[in-house]
Amino acid sequence: MRDRLTMLIAAVLLAVVTVTSYWYSREMRRPTSRTPSSPDTPDFIVDSVVLTQFDDSGRARYRLIAERLSYFNENDDAELAMPRLVSLQPDEPQLQASAARARITNAGERVLMQGGVLLQRAAAADRPALTIRTEQMTAIPDLEQFASDVPVLIEQGDTRLAGAAMEYDNLKRVLTVSGGLRGEMAPAHR
């Protein structure tokens, strides 16, 4: 009688385990019923956001200030309203980039800035301040590279440049202007 009861309990336990495993394997194979979030609908929104990027040694490299950040889980992109990117490297002239809106893609590697884009590099002992104005610009903040394929206006010291497109490398300190370049330089003071 006692042996029978033991066997019965074992059989019930085995059945429960079998049924549970079967159900679990079925559940695992079923396609997820969760609806994917639309690329146009952010997963979360943050107002008045300040993000700081640090380098490997823990020193702050960049600060990003925006009125609103909308994050999209689907592709890891973020959209910014009134963004301003400020470099925080004390040994280099400060670099600032601002626009009406921006989209950060490739996990922060690339920033597409649009609407009243302004890129400014502060003056240093050996070079005057540099200002670049355009309507659309792609920035790669880690490499300090900026590019625009729409008309640009550039000012440095007493020199003003206009062109149809530009590339600027802040590390190499090389500015390339293409497509109908026109430059105006004030006369030297005699």
């Binding site: 440049l161 202007v177 026109r182 430059g183 330089m185 030297a188």
Partner: protein, 207 residues
């Protein structure tokens, strides 16, 4: 010691100065593209490049520009294949009613804003025009036009391959007023107050 056989070397003084108002004018650069290198402190524009400052105008295929610490600019202008760089600038009028222009062409033009000098290098030609009529005409391997001192110097070139050829108009006011073109074809300078004289030194010819 390089073998430099000059056929002729000449210097000549001109009566008027380059347009002084040009000095207060901005320098305008136009080209298809430009590379501005802050570290090397050199700007290179290329593709149908022009440089204008007031009445001064230089054209070429490529311009390499530098700025001195005191803000003066210089440009080395080179031409495309089978083309020449060009230079043109008005001069302050020495006589009323006479509009004077300096024109020049060469394979390379070197312009210096501070010294107001222009070097025409290789296949160099230089002309002075009064109301559109050529009055003085010089050709050689290297011509240095000093707009501030109103002089030009001509280097005939190496191994006798290039000859200096100069046609200088008489400097009498009557001739200028009449606007007669100078008689061409002479190998030597014509007599006049601005006669050619040998220079005491070479223009800094580049090898």
């Amino acid at each position: 010691m390089r073998m430099l056989l000059l056929v002729a070397l000449a210097a000549c003084t001109l009566p008027a100065h380059a347009e002084r108002a040009d000095q207060s004018q901005p320098t305008i650069i136009e080209a298809d593209r430009g590379v501005f290198d802050e570290l090397k402190q050199v700007n290179v524009v290329s593709g149908r490049a022009t440089l204008t400052r007031g009445t001064l105008r230089i054209t070429g295929e490529r311009m390499e520009m530098r700025t001195t610490p005191d803000g003066y600019r210089s440009a080395v202008v080179t031409a495309g294949p089978d083309a020449l760089t060009t230079f043109r600038q008005r001069r302050d009028a020495s006589q009323p009613g006479v509009e004077e222009y300096i024109e020049g062409t060469a394979e390379r033009i070197e312009w210096d804003e501070k010294t107001e000098s222009v070097r025409f290098v290789n296949r160099a030609q230089w002309r002075r025009l009064e109301n559109g009529v050529v009055r003085d005409e010089v050709s050689g391997q290297v011509i240095v036009y000093d707009a501030a001192a109103s002089t030009y110097r001509v280097d005939g070139g190496e191994r006798g391959s290039g000859r200096v050829r100069a046609v200088i108009a008489p400097r009498t006011s009557e001739a200028a007023k009449a606007g007669e073109p100078s008689k061409k074809g002479g190998e030597a300078a014509r007599p006049g107050p601005a006669a050619l004289r040998p220079a005491t030194e070479l223009p800094a010819a580049k090898k």
